[in-house]
Symmetry: C3
Subunit: 361 residues, 3 copies
Amino acid sequence: MESEPTGRHRARQRPDYPLNAWYAVAQDVELKRELLARKVCGTFVVMYRRGDGQPVALEDSCWHRMLPLSKGRLLGDEVVCGYHGLRYDTSGRCTHMPSQSTVNPTACVRSFPMVERHRYLWMWPGDPALAEPSRIPDLHQNRDPHWAGDGKRIFARCNYKLVLDNLMDLTHETFVHGSSIGQDAVAERPFVTRHGRGVVQVERWMLDVEPPPFWAKQLGKPGRVDRWQIIRFQAPSTISIDVGVAPAGSGAPEGDRSQGVNGMVINTITPESERTSHYFWAFVRNYRCDEQTITHELCEGVAQIFREDELILEAQQRALDEYPERTFYDLNVDAGGVWARKQIDAMIDEERTPAKLVVVQ
Amino acid sequence: MESEPTGRHRARQRPDYPLNAWYAVAQDVELKRELLARKVCGTFVVMYRRGDGQPVALEDSCWHRMLPLSKGRLLGDEVVCGYHGLRYDTSGRCTHMPSQSTVNPTACVRSFPMVERHRYLWMWPGDPALAEPSRIPDLHQNRDPHWAGDGKRIFARCNYKLVLDNLMDLTHETFVHGSSIGQDAVAERPFVTRHGRGVVQVERWMLDVEPPPFWAKQLGKPGRVDRWQIIRFQAPSTISIDVGVAPAGSGAPEGDRSQGVNGMVINTITPESERTSHYFWAFVRNYRCDEQTITHELCEGVAQIFREDELILEAQQRALDEYPERTFYDLNVDAGGVWARKQIDAMIDEERTPAKLVVVQ
Amino acid sequence: MESEPTGRHRARQRPDYPLNAWYAVAQDVELKRELLARKVCGTFVVMYRRGDGQPVALEDSCWHRMLPLSKGRLLGDEVVCGYHGLRYDTSGRCTHMPSQSTVNPTACVRSFPMVERHRYLWMWPGDPALAEPSRIPDLHQNRDPHWAGDGKRIFARCNYKLVLDNLMDLTHETFVHGSSIGQDAVAERPFVTRHGRGVVQVERWMLDVEPPPFWAKQLGKPGRVDRWQIIRFQAPSTISIDVGVAPAGSGAPEGDRSQGVNGMVINTITPESERTSHYFWAFVRNYRCDEQTITHELCEGVAQIFREDELILEAQQRALDEYPERTFYDLNVDAGGVWARKQIDAMIDEERTPAKLVVVQ
């Protein structure tokens, strides 16, 4: 299916993220045998690894007097509150209270399903009964021997959908990233949008163009190139982008791209609140995989590009805050982002609809 | 007309400024061939000069995704958005969109009438059809070969009416500016208040008094003086004050003041929000006009005096914020300020009243 | 009466402090012949000493234009406003207005009853007719020749009841103050709670225990000890704690404690707002009273311990702000704090009930 939705829509709805979804909450290297506090989808969460390395996520608020448990400490696999010493096991059940021999059986904090995959920790803030690990977004290139690279976490002071909009339409590269990856072709060449249940894809081919500085350096060969951007959205908030260039004539959609260079920009964004997000990204490549210097250079280079986006995104959020009655208007290039928002809205609607009664006769 | 209004009134109303009025938004030297962002009457505005020097003011928010246009750049006389490259002409009409050959004809941002006069840029935030340049306040002494001087812009963290109150009653000089221009006579000598449509005048003559340090230095002659303060308010927010001293006996209202020194304190205040203001002021004089050192000394001296006012005004605004239910009470000396507020209220009322139907038979 | 109340209660109510009560607003050494501004129970207050040393407290907001009077100056025993020179006597009556010979007889600011006692200034923010000095909490040890010590004022960024909870249950010493006064016995030994009209007492005896570092140093003798904590709450917000250790066998409730060391932790907490408090404390002892070095060491040592509490209390307040719908749950150890909150609620209820009509026949 192709589509060019048009028209206007409200810039903000509340709450505007689904809870029944896997969200990246930490890079694998961030989570250790110690307490890590992070706010996820409006809820304070304390995370840690058990002795056997398995990840645990609990509500970061003691049942008794609401002190964040992250201000306490680990005792084996249990968390001890830093105020009065209440203890909680990995399921959130209170196992010890001071000065009393029996424990109130209702004393507990929420625990959240956690899975480690693709170099991220994924948490499910909604109904635990629905937390199927098969629904974790596919970002396998982030942990694949044929791909190499690294990434970072950005604390973005904006609604997560502003980051998605930014990634679903790359025409902004021409204006925001003019010194690295931007070029007129990105803003002017046609693109194709496809969408299915929970996925949206935007594809843009720029054949026979001058490579921008970033890609000229990666390719390391003179001359014009065929350049591509294949953006793949997985609801509610994961986007991977197949990017690259090949010598002109060798990079067409059906061509042999082996003469070129190919990267995958991995992005998954987790709402912290309505106005703030945890933005996890990585850049991996399938060429010169064993050269650590390239990994470092690419990671730092992309980090610099993303800082240009951050300034834009934060300015947009401030504008939304200042003009609550204003709305966004869409251009043709927004087709991908508009379909992504529709997919998110469908998830939110589904969550709010009471489960259907199935009558068995 | 003379008047001594009394009684109590609400310290705050909302919105408490007229929109159909000219407001100073920049000093002439501030506006160049580049984008300048400023908030005026609650609206974000981007300003610049065209190639021919004429001033332009547009709403600082792209029609598409609300990024402030001030984060973009000028291309000839057009503004290019820094996110996706939409272009706007000086009337606010969008002339270019990326990746599409036609431009949505409804795509535009507001443009505001702008006029340069008296060394200020004046913007009309209300109905453009009513923006008569003849309604710009008369501050001609700020650009007149018989007067010399300079001024500054203050970002005042208070409602603009608090600045007006401060200027309409100068008894505070005795208590706030005791080391420079204050003296008991300012608080104790009688004054006369007059008012007409859109103007209020407060006149105080202090005959045969010791000059305070500031004026003693300006006059440069020993002995007692006649001192005057003639405060002229032009609605909604411009106040010029004719100030000076002359040797005692030569400065009476009907006297020959040529033996004295005479200055004009120019003030025009623009609401930024309900709680913040752009305060433009200048001090010009009609003596020793070619001595640049005096211009510099006077400008810095007045700037120091106004910093004393700023501390008072900000403390007052904090008090209003903390005690929203409290009201101001008036003294006799508040007559001028009370009439100024009445003139402002009349403008606001007029703006809200639907235009009268004129039936022609 | 003994009691172990259980169950859940709302963490916050509004307004949640009585006004008809004496609150400490300054240490005696803080109040001088100059203006001191402080917010007390949501009201801005300006305080000073008259020429004869008597304390005065007035509303810190000029009747005229709401400038804080604390920005003005003293003239004899009167306050002169720093904006237009209005003067107020110690009863809050305006005695002078600029430029007019008569003073509006309704012009005044509130004045508050003030009494100096136990090294504190006590202010009554409620109905002055009820301000009986006999209702000032008994903290006589703070100014008694048999006791010596000193204290400080903490600006605590939390509701005052969180400080009371903290003091009414000392099991937290084990977890918050492990390096100084905490030990497992505090969390595990039984305690007894008693309460009467306006008072609550929690008593815990820890016989034959190892002394924690703080007390071992104070006692200066080797060996095990009997340790006690007798917490006495006086509504609405004063808590004194009789603390000490004696050689094991000599410190039982009915024993002779003269071989031990005995201190009194004095605490009185004044709401500044719903979210902030002035916390006055002192530590006094009845041994080695003339050694100024010990006074200094104890005061600094306790100050360090209380900083550990501050971090907890501020984290709790942030949690209350973030989770307004959440409630506190109680453990057995909260009996004292729960009774203290009940006493406060009773005072607030009494204040809101219209006075009974007494019909005399």
